[in-house]
């Protein structure tokens, strides 16, 4: 697992330069690191974060949006009727609450549905693996360049911190 500093350094090296979203405890160290560097713009809702991200891209930035799996539900219409049809590249870093059904009750249904929903909607994604996180960020950055639109990295508990 990369440290929070290594993670942020690698994201910056891949060109990501606008960070927004809604916090999750599974990435609290990463969020703290982004905040230490003055890089994180907190939003009230995940769809609003995607709006900010779209604007940032139009202004020349490459955005990353942090969200829990539940936030993908909030954000689906923004993803489909904004990012996908306008071809706006945005990396979603999704913490996989409800992974394997082991979580608080409010996360269980969406946790089970998440990969299937991403697939049905047509958002490319990978499940993050501890030993491959940096390479998977490289993969996401390459997909964003080749087929602009949303791309997701889905992070089960314990892969990032």
């Amino acid at each position: 697992m990369p440290s929070a500093a290594e993670l942020v350094d690698h994201l910056l090296a891949c060109g990501f330069d606008f960070f927004t979203g809604v916090p999750c405890s599974l990435v609290k160290e990463a969020l703290a690191e982004l905040n230490r560097r003055g890089l994180f713009v907190v939003e009230n809702r995940e769809d609003a974060a995607l709006g900010l991200a779209a604007g940032a891209y139009l202004a020349g930035r490459l955005p990353l949006v942090i969200s829990q799996s539940s936030g993908v539900g909030v954000a689906l219409n923004a993803l489909t009727s904004l990012h996908m049809i306008y071809r706006i590249p945005t990396l979603l870093l999704v913490t996989w609450r409800g992974h394997r059904g082991v979580d608080a009750p409010e996360h269980v249904v969406w946790g089970r549905a998440l990969p299937g929903v991403l697939e049905r909607v047509g958002i490319p994604f990978q499940e993050l693996e501890s030993a491959r996180v940096l390479a998977q960020i490289d993969w996401a950055a390459a997909v964003l360049r080749d087929q602009p639109g949303p791309v997701a990295l889905v992070s089960p508990p314990g892969v990032l911190n």
């Binding site: 939003e43 609003a48 709006g51 900010l52 604007g55 139009l58 202004a59 904004l82």
Partner: protein
């Protein structure tokens, strides 16, 4: 004052800006009354026009950003007024055409007749917020509104109307995104960049 008249008064003031048009008849009006590369017609993602404008405003703090919004859109994502106030971009100018209805779905009423959105923006912490009720008031307010550092909020009361005043936006969405990004690309003079 109908949407067309209000938009015709506003558009000459925003020719140098990135202009985000809310979905529905506001986007259609912007497209019909004088399409420009700086125009971005948000045809879906209702509620997010202000968020898109804010992203541009903080991504490029030296470019003027204007959001032409509607009451239904603002009410759908009222929290964005708090985000705008908290981020406080001086280059962000938020104009809301308020006819009190969801016009493009058949004039069903919104909540705007019972709450004052300009007062909400002021309470959230916009740098300035005003309300105009007719064309002479709008015309008089516009120069100072756009000259005053933002975030600024201008609520423009307009009349509801029957029928379909404008045709659909005929530009491919990805073309709109690409041309606005090109319009905003930093020039040799060093415009753009900076900020968060």
């Amino acid at each position: 004052m109908y949407l067309r008249a209000a938009a015709e008064l506003v558009l000459p003031h925003v020719t140098d800006a990135a202009v985000i048009f809310a979905n529905g008849y506001i986007s259609r009006a912007g497209h019909a009354l004088g399409d420009r590369p700086g125009h971005f017609y948000m045809i879906g993602s209702m509620g997010l026009a202000a968020a898109i404008g804010l992203g541009i405003a903080i991504g490029q703090p030296r470019r003027r950003v204007v959001v032409l919004d509607g009451d239904g859109n603002v009410l759908m994502n009222l929290g964005e007024l708090a985000t705008a106030a908290a981020l406080r971009p001086a280059n962000f100018h938020h104009v809301v055409f308020d006819n009190g209805v969801y016009a493009s779905t058949g004039n069903q009423p919104t909540l705007s007749d019972t709450i004052d959105l300009a007062a909400v923006a002021r309470a959230a912490g916009y740098a300035h917020a005003a309300r105009v009720e007719n064309a002479p008031e709008l015309q008089a307010a516009l120069p100072r509104f756009f000259a005053t550092p933002g975030p600024g909020f201008l609520l423009v009361k307009i009349d509801r109307e029957e029928g379909t005043p404008f045709g659909r936006v005929a530009i491919e969405p990805s073309v709109m995104a690409a041309r606005l990004r090109a319009f905003l690309a930093p020039r040799a003079s060093g415009e753009g960049g900076g900020g968060i």
